[in-house]
């Protein structure tokens, strides 16, 4: 091993340490700081002086202590063992840390991201003599019952496979040897590394046009996201950002979910940890944990590691995308990431822009979401992967003019706007249907095998949204002149809008059945709600009283359709018959008057 560069600390201010004698060091090199051997990263260089953000609490560090340059940039380890892991912001396995040091975090610990002892069964998918280039899949590992982990040629290697063997290996054992054109031999192991701040290479980008179905009615029906798409969820505290993120992590039809708890509550991560192994994936019936990776750098953990956590998360996500999978990444909350950036920037004495955030805030946020997308993956066999990114944003006081919200809205294609008033009424998800938007709406119909059904769903969505918009106008009128002024048709519109809100959009994440609604059930439910409306209009036409329409017993069935299990979906169809049966007599009584 070569002599590593050693500098010395000259200044300590919270999470930032300045060191001298660092000539030759590179930006983003990882360093070890002080006697305590704290992990840090160089974030600024001036002459031979380096400013370092330290990923651990710096109490007890002082001038004169050594700083060792590891000469590697902050990277993650990629390979079998990622799934079902829980890491901190710089990929230290939190479970291993508990085992080693107890329930409280101590400093200077160094545990590798991937277990070095565990053996995996490697099955080659290419044979000796195959020419390979970056990204080519050379073998597979059954990582969990839900995950076939593809072993790929690292992005900087190509050549001819000289040997490759099936068997039980650790991630650092050689599984294949590849000879480059110039004759150098590369030993390939299952593990590779990648620097977190650099996007992983792809072949080319494709337009995201398949919905990422979430089972959340307001999302899928009105404001859908796509495989490879981007979305944000801003809202004041307590409006349901985290629950939305958790719901998506549980139910989206992705192959892999990467959940980044960035500067938020410890118990929320514990919640995920205890719940995911219990919950079953609705498609495979397997525990959801078997497709999930968690990054937890909670609010009380060091702020610099929080800054790194979103990059760690997205790099892991890209790696699974490169295998040809659909990946969904949730970051809760990107505001805490931005604040970490601000805190470091302040300590570096950089010129602040708005709200004290550094001038590069917008650029960093844009670059982060740019790592999402549907892509043609690098290497053979030909495959497509997708990475969707969904970020929660926590603006001060819920104010949407906040810098982080604004910078995010510039880049994302879906906006789920959470509203305090809705949350206070316990209307969840508190996604405001009047201000939220999705640029992927046109792909909704593609979710249905039956083209007519797809078109019908699209039409119903438009009709339902029309009624909700009408409601907001009518409510204004009622406020000004009272309910008396409304025509029967308007009154029906108000009632139907209420039904759309309460019976359709409102969805209880904690109800066994209601927590997830298949696309088919969404179609049936919405159709039923609107069927009542159309039947009601006809009855009014025939002279029926609105009061009688609103009293029909079938409305109770409509309200409870959400609790009908997927297997009994026929029951929802039958509600439409009941509507007709109960509506008919109103026509005749009206006629007889």
């Amino acid at each position: 091993m070569t002599e590593k560069r050693v500098g010395r600390v000259v200044k300590v201010a919270g999470p930032v340490v300045v060191a001298e004698g660092m000539a030759g060091a590179r930006m983003y090199d990882v360093v070890r700081v002080g006697q305590l051997n704290l992990i840090g990263e160089i974030v600024e260089l001036r002459g031979d002086t380096a400013s370092i953000q330290v990923y651990e609490e710096t109490t007890g560090i002082g001038p004169g202590e050594p700083v060792l340059d590891t000469e590697a940039s902050l990277s993650v380890e990629l390979g079998p063992g990622l799934i079902e892991s829980i890491y901190d912001g710089i990929q230290r396995p939190l479970d291993a840390l508990v085992e080693r040091e107890g329930e409280f975090m101590s400093r200077g610990s160094d545990v590798p991201g991937l277990n070095r002892e565990k053996k995996w069964r490697f099955k080659p998918t290419v044979s000796e003599g195959t020419k390979v280039s970056p990204g080519d899949i050379i073998g597979e590992v059954d990582e969990t019952t839900l995950m076939v982990h593809k072993i790929m040629v690292p992005p900087d290697i190509s050549g001819t496979i000289k040997s490759i063997s099936e068997g039980e290996f650790t991630v650092v054992d050689t599984v294949a040897v590849c000879v480059a054109e110039d004759g150098t031999e590369h030993e390939l192991m299952m593990m590779q590394r990648w620097p977190v701040r650099e996007p992983r290479p792809i072949s080319r980008r494709l337009a995201p046009e398949k919905l990422l179905v979430s089972g959340q009615r307001v999302v899928d029906t009105f404001f859908p996201i796509t495989k490879g798409g981007t979305a944000c969820v801003p809202g004041p505290f307590g409006t349901g950002k985290t629950v939305v993120q958790h719901q998506l992590a549980k139910w989206v039809d992705a192959d892999v979910v990467v959940y980044v708890g960035c500067g938020e509550r410890g118990n929320e991560m514990t919640d995920v940890l205890t719940e995911f192994p219990e919950l079953k994936d609705p498609r495979s019936g397997e525990p959801l944990m078997r497709r999930s990776v968690l990054i937890a750098n909670t609010s009380n953990m060091p702020v610099a590691a929080r800054e790194a956590s979103v990059y760690t998360g997205i790099t892991l996500a890209e790696y699974f995308r490169d295998m040809g999978y659909t990946v969904a990444l949730m970051a809760d909350s990107t505001s805490r990431w931005a604040e970490a950036m601000r805190e470091i920037s302040t300590r570096l004495e950089e010129m602040p822009a708005e709200e004290g955030y550094p001038a590069y805030l917008g650029a960093r946020i844009a670059a982060f979401y740019e790592r999402a997308g549907r892509v043609q993956c690098l290497g053979s066999p030909d495959r497509e992967g997708g990475l969707s990114v969904i970020g929660a944003v926590s603006p001060p006081g819920g104010d949407l003019s906040d810098s982080v919200v604004q910078a995010t809205l510039h880049v994302v294609k879906v906006f789920w706007s959470l509203k305090g008033e809705l949350a206070y009424q316990r209307h969840f998800p508190a996604i405001d249907w009047l201000t939220s938007y999705s640029f992927y709406k046109q792909y909704l119909r593609g979710c249905f095998e039956d083209k007519d059904q797809g078109r019908e769903m699209e039409k119903m969505t438009g009709a339902a949204m029309g009624l909700l918009e009408q409601e907001s106008e009518l409510v204004e009128i009622v406020r000004l002149v009272g309910a008396e002024a409304l025509s029967p048709r308007d009154r029906l519109a108000l009632e139907t809008a209420r039904s759309i809100r309460e019976d359709y959009l409102h969805q209880n994440a904690f109800h066994e059945v209601d927590t997830y609604t298949s696309m088919e059930k969404q179609y049936e439910m919405l159709k039923t709600v609107l069927h009542f409306h159309h039947q009601g209009l006809e009855a009014i036409q025939a002279g029926a009283e609105t009061a009688d329409i609103f009293k029909l017993a079938v409305r109770e069935d409509i309200a409870r359709a959400k609790y009908v299990p997927q297997e009994e979906i026929d029951k929802i169809r039958r509600i439409r018959d009941t509507i007709e049966q109960q509506m008919k007599p109103l026509h005749s009584t009206a006629a007889s008057k």
Binding site: T58, V98, R265, L273, N300
Partner: protein
Amino acid sequence: MLSVKEYQTVSNIQGPLMMVEMVDEAKYGHIVDIELGDGSIRHGQILQVENDKVLVQVFEGTSGIDVKNSKVRFLARPLEFGVSPDILGRVFSGLGVPKDDGPEIIPEKRLDINGQPINPYGRDYPNEFIQTGISTIDGLNPLVRGQKLPIFSGSGLPHDDLTAQLARQATVLGKGEAFAVVFAAMGITFEAAQFFIDDLHNTGAIERAVMFVNLANDPAIERIATPRFALTAAEYLAYDQGMHVLVILNDMTNYCEALREISAARKEVPGRRGYPGYLYTDLATIYERAGRIKGNKGSITMVPVLTMPEDDKTHPVPDLTGYITEGQIILSRSLARQGVSPPTDVLPSLSRLKDKGIGEGKTREDHASLYNQLYAAYARGKEMQELATIMGEAALSDEDRKYMEFANKFEDRYISQDYYENRSVFQTLDLGWELLSMFDNVDLKRIDLQLIEKYMTKYRTGKSKAKEAAD
């Protein structure tokens, strides 16, 4: 132990900060003793070190310190609290010095008051229901062991009565386990602190209480350390001694103001309303110390109290608190004016951990559906109350009027409660059903029909009989 170095090189004093020069071996975060010309001692903590220059925050303030005669001793350790079971029943200053006339405490060990972050993997999810006897909490926003649930109040609102009631009545159903109360006063009045202490005396809980008291006329900067002392004591009692600890921090707004003062003196770029940009992170290092640890019997439940300046929930102190804590109980001035007591503003109040603490086997099967329905009905009723004040009751439809009536009754009977009335959770649940019995099933969309059948019937029979008679 290392020899303690002493310097007489104070170069600069500004606000609560002091610069000491030509120091070697200073470490970030460590503490110093400052001996003044008259021999009195003050305490400080290192905020920044650059070469041989050290920036120190002085807990007792800098007034009277001079550049020439002051001696600074670098103690080469962080701020610590000496713990032992004998801390129970004792009163300490905001800097952890005994303040009563009890005997000296011989510490079992000395702990860094900053603690260490809990590894999220080491946490146990809080799910044990605490009965507080207060309907708006037990029925609507249940508290569980290990939760952090603050009270957002306003000046002059009865948060002291509510906190005292909570400390007095909190129990876990069917359990008589060791519990303790840790109370940290930060910048509150003597009267407010005494009220709480007297209450502990009256109930006999004082022997199981530890108090850290920094009053309104005590040094402001000391308040930065006070909650950390309290939590260090709490962690010791919970995780070493296996106790269930209730920590009350009152008032966090004063704490945040002290932090703002330091930040201003350091000339840091101010964030919203002059509070430092790291306020969120700083508060998190306090609030996140609540919780439960895997395989450990003890727990820390935290009730921070804060006054919202101008009753504004979006002010940085309540705002950032709400972003960290597991819900909030909000008191409302307008309800207080209407005579609702305690004036709990139910709609924006929230307990985030309720769902796993209630239900069959914990409280009762109907609990979740019931609070969902109560919320929905009260929200609609509240809207109607407002509409009625704008347009007059006559403008409401019969349906609307029914909701308004419900809201009135709800405020009168469910929210209002005497500070000495201890309602069992079952009484609270039944009261909810009784109030909802004025609605038909169609209006009770959030409750399963079976549950309505089971729990509502007895409240309806009277009503339907009356109706039959009238028909």
